[in-house]
Amino acid sequence: MLLQLLASTFRVSTPLLFAALGGLFSERAGVINIALEGLMLIGAFGAAVGTLATHSPWLGSILGAAAGVALAAVYGLFVIRLRANQIIAGMAINMLAFGLTPFLCKILYDVTGSTPAIPVTERFRSAPLYLSWAIVAACYLWLKYTAAGLRLTFAGEHPVALEAAGVRVNGMRWLAVLLSGALAGMGGAALSVCLSSSFSRNMTGGRGFMALAALIFGKWKPVPTALACLLFGFSEAVQIRLQGVSLWGHQPIPVQFIQILPYVVTMLVLAGFVGRSRPPKALGLPFRKP
């Protein structure tokens, strides 16, 4: 039973992991990414649409990632080029995704709820899970041992120095934001084409924000962030298992208390253990060429 819970944890953490890695790139480059929720949602929608159209989950995921990139481009335009407040613009992008997905769903499939179900043969089994951990490893190596990774870190810590060294900071940030769109979109794809069988309305349910919390808890480093995602995934997996179970021999725990468990865990994690977590120094400050 414990093994099943463990396997479930890994499966359920996959979308979180993708989104958190996307957030990692963006925030390490200095751009706060509250829009992960919206990017995931539109990625989930794009992947569902793509898989239904092409009957291949991989092609569907590519469409999902592309949808994420497109929305991230809008985000980047407002936040990097037009220097909007990153938190406000991020929330606006989320709202945009929440509004566009039922709108597009109605146009494509004539229903505003969920897309048609994807048959089980056309869905992923566990490929996104392995892919996500491969990306964690790649991310760790890239950030630590390559020059490009160092430049990304500089864009978030000391952009003036980076610009003086001849690298365009805003170009670096654009790449980071677009990459975060692709990764979050992939996370959404893992939600709609792997963990469930279609896109349903607002299916991300706060996972984008949990990914952000995992990022903060993981001190903006790939491996601790991945472990934090596992923690949130665990609380979600436990939530699924605990439904209907009675503690202390009386009535079963009300389902609502179990459903809010991941959110409570997120708050506790942020409140209790963050402590001296230090964000990238230039995080949130738009860069204007001096």
């Binding site: 220097r83 709202m95 709108f103 919390a213 959110y263």
Partner: protein
Amino acid sequence: MSHARSLFLAIFQTRTSHSLAVPPAMKKLLQPLLALALGLACGLAITWAAGENPWHVLRVLEKSAFGSSYDIGMTLFYATPLIFTGLSVAVAFQAGLFNIGAEGQLTMGALAAAAAGALWPRVPSPLAPLLASLAAVIAGTVWGGIPGWLRARRGSHEVINTIMLNFIAAGLASYVALYLLKNPESQNPETPNIGAGYFIHQFAIFGGAPVSLALPVALLVAGFVWLLLWKTTLGFEIRAVGQNEAAARAAGIDAGRIRIIALCAAGGIAGLVGLGEVLGNAGRFRVGFSPEYGFIGIAVALLGRNRPVGVVVAALLFGALHKGAADLDLETEHVTRELSLVLQALIILSVSAEGLWNWLTPLRRQNLDQNLGSKQARI
């Protein structure tokens, strides 16, 4: 190809060498108005891309919001909670805080008001709505105080905490309405009807739309917020912490305490939505009654530049938009009510994009903004 590029650059290039000769008071008004126009235009372009005639869409919107006394009434009915949530978000913004949790705060407020009405149904009339309102304000204040305390004493950013509390509030409300205080007369997830003494007066001239005393209360609260923020020491401290925390600390202001107070106030104001919904409309708490008033409140606060007068005007506007979008769903083939979400998002993006409006500000101010950096928060 180069024509397109130079056109693109012309639109988006920051023109630091010229600025428009507009009187300063006009500029403050112009930016949100232009942002509104831009957002609307983009939204209409989307409907056009979806196959609808944008003029038809505009006509439906206009008729739906102001066509008859019932329509105007419904617009006011939607605007009232938006005034509350807009003020809630605005007060928090003035302290430099992002209150994304207005949705959860209003849920707890409405739940508390309905619980008071259901648990003590025989309380007589003038006392009863006061009791319920007090319960609503207290519940909202607690729900705002939690992220305030967490930010002030543990340093965890209120954006994520308030969003988490939204989900938690929804879960708690669902639990209460389904198990603790279930309405015996109905299958819906809602609390029992409140006692007769709790209902507040509804204005009859709006042809059936449930415009109640909550509207004048909302306007009064807007007035109080203005008094608080601009005429009291506490309000000054709140704005000081929001504009320059380091200077405020140097002046001896306890930023942590101010943050807690600001978010408590924000939560309490948002809780008053329960007044209009429970006491002035449904007479009970219905799970999911709020069409995202909390999130629209963010757009209202931004468009209203975090000032009470602006918030009231923006709330009326978004109320009209909300009413219009609901009718759009019925009267067009492709446009759904979610278009209002898209429109709000576009308006928010337009308002907050500083680079778009640089040509409105004189050159001196631009350099100053550049050096101080815009008000950004860290997560």
